[in-house]
């Protein structure tokens, strides 16, 4: 499955990047292809392109703040979870997707 994701937290210096790393790692274990955009203190990194979003079957927002450029995801199925969820139980997110 092709997945896109966004991680963002209030200070944007730690959890944003840790959650991104977790999602990337666990997605691989589940056999998914994932691209994670981080919206942190350095601004947007690893930005999702229009093509990335079009090709994805699902988008995961693991965020504790408002996502920048939410309108890019019009017409895409989005699951939004608190960032802690991506950090602590990323497996849950992916099993939910599979169901």
């Amino acid at each position: 499955m092709k997945i896109v994701a966004i991680t963002a937290c209030p200070t944007g210096i730690a959890h944003t990047y840790m959650a991104a790393a977790r999602l990337e790692k666990v997605a691989k274990n589940f056999g998914h292809e994932i691209k994670v955009e981080t919206q942190g203190a350095m601004g947007i990194e690893n930005k999702l392109t229009e093509a990335d979003i079009r090709q994805a079957q699902i988008a995961i927002f693991a965020v504790d703040i408002e996502v920048e450029g939410r309108d890019r995801f019009n017409g895409v199925k989005v699951i939004q979870v608190p960032l802690q969820e991506a950090l602590k139980n990323p497996e849950n997110i992916f099993s939910k997707i599979q169901r």
């Binding site: 730690a14 990047y17 790393a21 350095m42 504790d64 950090l87």
Partner: protein
Amino acid sequence: MEFAFSCPLSSGLHARPASLLAETANQFSAECSLTNLRNGLVGNAKSVLGIIAADVRYQDHCVLEVSGVDGHAALSALQRCVDQTLPTCDVGLAESPASRNNVTVPRVLQSAHATCISGVVISRGIAQGKVAFLRRIRLSAHDKSLPARDPQYELTRVKEAVIAVRQRIGEKLKYAITPVGAAVLQADLAIAGDILLVEKLAQQISQGKSAAQAVVETGEFFIDLLGHSENDYIRQRAADIEEICAQLLEEIGELHSSETMALTEPTILVAESLAPQQLLDLDRRWLQAIVLENAATTSHAAILARSLGIPTLAGARNTRVALPAGREVIVDANRGFVVAQLSSSVRRFYDREQETLRRRMARSSRDGTKRATTKDGRAIEIAANVSSADEATLAFENGADGIGLFRTEMVFLSREQAPSEEEQFAIYSEVARRSCGRPVIIRTFDIGGDKKVPYLNLPREENPFLGYRGSRIYDEHQDLLLTQLRAILRASVSGPIQIMAPMVTSAEEVAQFKAAVAQAKGSLALSGIDFSGDIKIGMMIEVPSAAFMLHELCRELDFFSLGTNDLCQYFFAADRGNAKVSSLFHVRHPAFLRFLDQIVRQIHQGKRWVGLCGEMAADPQNLPLLLGLGLDEISVPASEVRYLQQAIPRWDSDRCEQILNGALACGDAEEVARLLSELWNTGSPQPLLTSELIVLGSASETKEEVIQEMIDAFYVCGRTEDRHALEEALWAREAMGSTELGHGFAIPHCKTDAVTANSICVLRLREPIHWDSEHRERVNMVVLLAVRNADPANMHMQVFSSLARKLINDDFRQHLMKIDTAGEVTAYLARQLDIPLHPEDSAIAERPAQSRTL
């Protein structure tokens, strides 16, 4: 006739409602008495003190009894007062809690539920001791034995004093700004005219006491009566009575504040206010700290306390009510509060704090003691303001480049007769010897104002600060001046001493001063006594008129020193000791800064040297302004010397000039303050990693202690000057959600300019602790990330995001758990994060483990 009621006021019948009740009762000739049924106490309802002494608290059942010809009318008037006036008389009078909100109580103390009473820091330091109160109404031994004259005469004196004090309070009442202030004055007014007080005074005099003795004994009687109440408000009235009696004594002309208070154990002195003489009389061996209720922060006693290095707080309201005498407390005059109860966690916190301060001191003295220069190489002298040879020694130990101000009045105060030439010569030459060639500016005595000496018999003045003081008294006291000048001149053989005149208003005064120096030289030469012939002569700039005569003064003198405390109060016409107008006294006001700028320019045009020795130099926030002014020297209390020397290399002199110009263009003091606070944190980039921020084997037991310990590590190595702001930033992030990561890791983090550099701090616990209540797992490894807001957005952020990603990695975490030494931790992190290691750390990496036991 009587009626019963229950007290409707939650704070009881304190002075204000009592004064309303008494006022009503006094309109009638009937006798009125109040009985408190709870305790059986009966008071005269025509007397505020009588009512207060009945100790009526919320919902106490009371009976008001009235008897006399107009009893009916009195009863209904009192009933109306109780039913209608009393219930609402406290509305809107609640003290604003603002002063308590900005208290910087660390989380460790908050979580220990320690009661902290806040105050303004006058002199920094931490001290522990037992509370003792300085009584303002005391009679000297002399007055005790002084016999009373004719009772009629004494009674008249007392009555006149009462009238004068009431008049004075009435005057103040006219100008009271806040309802709270007015209510307090109203109550004071009622107490000062209280029939019980007046009766008691008359009774004492009829027993053969003098007016002053009567006031003291009456005051002590009521203070004793009210001081034992369990009600805070009523105990507070004891302080009011003390104040009123002090004013009465002052009016009678017998206020002797100089009676010595004997200290026998480590003591925290609590007082409304303090005269310099009272402070000097206290036994320094036992005096640990001073807590003043009065809010004025620049009184001479405050300056003296700072120069003596006695931790001091001011504006600590209601301390005398909240703290019983004899209670063991800690005064934290670094953060600005008194800790009222010492639990084991409070003691533990302060044990650690002392250790932190010791390590910080040790580290900063390691940094060397060369003359401070700005980033672009401009040198500036950092000198010290002192009052004694001991203080001068301390200043030189702290690396001072000289003594910018030796206040000699302390040599003159606190004694029965003037110091002899020999005595002064001994003191001045000792300082000169200890200076090892560094300049010492000795200011001739500045007596008058609030600094009084008995042997000069200076007249009492309405307005001493605008009166007979400083060089103005030299003409009349030529002998005293000549003696001092001879002593200074003789001492100048031992070192580069310079002479400075205080409170100079005009060029004529300078001419007279120089003539006196010439005369002193002449008399020494005549006797064949050695002195330095080319001694430099300068003056303080404290009086604005002098600033408009600089062209002439530069021709006459060698140097100038800006005494900004007095200069500022004369400039704004605002008494710096008066809390009511002290907000007008603002050294950072653009009007004052423009004035200073003009003065420094003119002195430099006249090719003369100019320093600054006022309090404003001790505030690090002002440093860029002072550097921008282009001063030749800054003189501060001995304890501040080192800090300034370290701060100066961070600044560029051109940049400081721009900052000053920005401040000169501001519209008010607040705008200047904003401008400065934005600037202050621009330190030089430091490496992200340092082994000074790696703590292994921590003994902390709570999350609060862990965070405090990590903040302390920042503080020790100079990466934060504001531990409170750093702590608040970290806790603000904690409030948004757990920073616990699992696997025994937590990563508190924040973006704040309270750190002087982006930093990674690592702490490993000896015993794991709970981080958040909702997580069952314990934490034993804490990685703290602190990022500056003011830095360019991307600085170090790659490293932070890569560290964050690594923390997800099991191997990385496990490795961090196992490393033995701080040096190895930094080396490992540097390798993993691909950042260069600081050269100092490469060396430290070789040293053994930095585990500490606390």
